[in-house]
């Protein structure tokens, strides 16, 4: 972890959807310490500002992939970067997906919208070492078929199940329509030996966790990634406080046994 941003160069950009871009970055000189799936970097668009962005890909050469959705001034600036541009990077920050916790378990990876980005390196880690786990199920919810991320990769994620559902189908869509939890009926897992990794809007996280608890998963086997307004990323400024947690330090990934009581408090 560094307090001063290190320069990283944009070497490639790939549009994912109309408002979302995956940026590939490489260190100009010194690289940040190694990232792990679920952790995030503070990415500084010079002259605009800094934003937390989860790592969407960890490359063997030290490069990083970040998938950014244009939602505010900083993220719009990051989406507009062209190859050759330089950004500042701090990190890695936060807790990651605890994959060793799930050793031998069936895996449920449940993503909503841009929440698929932090889960992508987790899926890749599982695919790279499949003997360490049981069945991999990836469940994806998106607004429309055009809003799906990583479309070229999804077929390879079905080990054995990768389901997609959308809220608003366009013409020609022959897949599922509805909330992401409806895909749980199709996934292949034994609740007593399953670990779930969930990322998306908090309402979707709560609905998914509730359904998983009902199906028999233990709360501490449901790992969720939470989002708050992160500024310093070092646990000092308090902007990302959620009850007793500072999510930049104690999160973003927390077990649902800790998250559930906090998410049920109004305006916390």
């Amino acid at each position: 972890m560094t307090a001063i941003p290190l320069p990283y160069r944009v070497v490639e950009t790939r549009p994912e959807t109309a408002d979302t871009v995956t940026v590939r970055l490489e260190p100009v000189h010194e690289a940040l310490p190694p990232f792990a799936p679920g952790r995030f970097a503070m990415v500084y668009a010079f002259g605009v500002g800094e934003a937390p962005v989860s790592v969407a890909g960890i490359l063997p050469d030290g490069g990083l992939l970040h998938t950014v959705r244009a939602a505010g001034a900083v993220s719009r600036a990051l989406c507009a970067l062209a190859p050759g541009a330089v950004v500042g990077m701090r990190g890695p920050f936060g807790t990651g997906w605890d994959l060793p916790l799930a050793a031998g378990d069936d895996l449920l990876v449940v993503a909503g919208g841009i929440g698929l980005a932090p889960l992508r390196p987790l899926v890749q880690a599982v695919l790279a070492a499949p003997q360490g786990h049981g069945r991999l199920n990836v469940l994806i919810g998106a607004r429309t078929p055009d809003d799906l991320l990583y479309r070229g990769e999804l077929d390879g994620w079905a080990r054995p199940y990768c389901g997609i559902t959308v809220d608003r189908p366009g013409a020609g869509w022959r897949g599922r329509v509805g909330v992401v939890t409806t895909l749980l009926d199709e996934a292949l897992f034994s609740p007593a030996g399953t670990t779930a990794f969930v990322c998306g809007p908090e309402i979707m996280i709560r609905a998914t966790a509730r359904d998983l608890l009902h199906r028999g998963l233990a709360p501490d086997r449901i790992l969720v990634s939470l989002e708050r307004n992160m500024h310093c990323a070092t646990g000092h400024c308090g902007h990302c406080q959620l009850g007793p947690l500072l999510l930049c330090r104690d999160g973003p990934v927390v077990g649902y046994e800790r998250a559930e009581p906090l998410l049920s408090v109004r305006e916390l």
């Binding site: 841009i114 607004r143 013409a171 509805g178 909330v179 409806t182 009926d185 309402i203 609905a207």
Partner: protein
């Protein structure tokens, strides 16, 4: 099949009586199973495949509002007046299902209060689940920031 969905909620002896009324049917992909506004005189419990529920929009292709899959109930408009389908249904993929004649089932329920209660409890639960799903999707959670908020 008897361990999931509707059949798992009904006590075994009552379930057997219900199953006596069912028949195994199949629909190829693309088949229209029922049309919006027509008489709702049957229901199905899907065994395999998926069915899209759609709404007629004048001048446009039908808008798919939800899909349902294996183990789920297809059709509840037969339960209460006007007993017309609120939506249309089309097989998205090859479908196998148990088909039930609604009148026969309602007659059976008149003489079997336990089955009647279990069946209605399941149907109401299904309607509630789909209502919650629809309301959640109204929030447009995955949309641009603020797009689902009330104006």
């Amino acid at each position: 099949m008897t361990r999931t969905g509707l059949f798992s909620t009904i006590p075994e002896d009552h379930r057997d009586r219900l199953m006596d009324l069912g028949r195994d049917v199949a629909f190829p992909a693309g088949a229209r199973i029922f049309e919006e506004g027509s008489k709702a005189d049957r229901f199905w419990v899907l065994h395999t495949g998926a069915v899209a529920l759609d709404l007629h929009v004048p001048g446009r292709r039908p808008a798919v509002v939800e899909t349902i899959g294996a183990g789920e109930l297809l059709g509840w408009s037969w339960v209460c007046p006007p007993r017309q389908w609120h939506l249309g249904a089309e097989a998205v993929s090859p479908v196998r299902a148990w088909e039930f004649d609604a009148q026969e089932v309602l007659r059976l329920c008149e003489h079997d209060p336990a089955l009647d209660h279990a069946l209605l409890t399941y149907v109401v639960g299904t309607i509630g689940h789909r209502l919650r799903s629809a309301r959640t999707r109204l929030l447009d959670l995955y949309g641009p920031y603020g797009s689902g908020e009330p104006r």
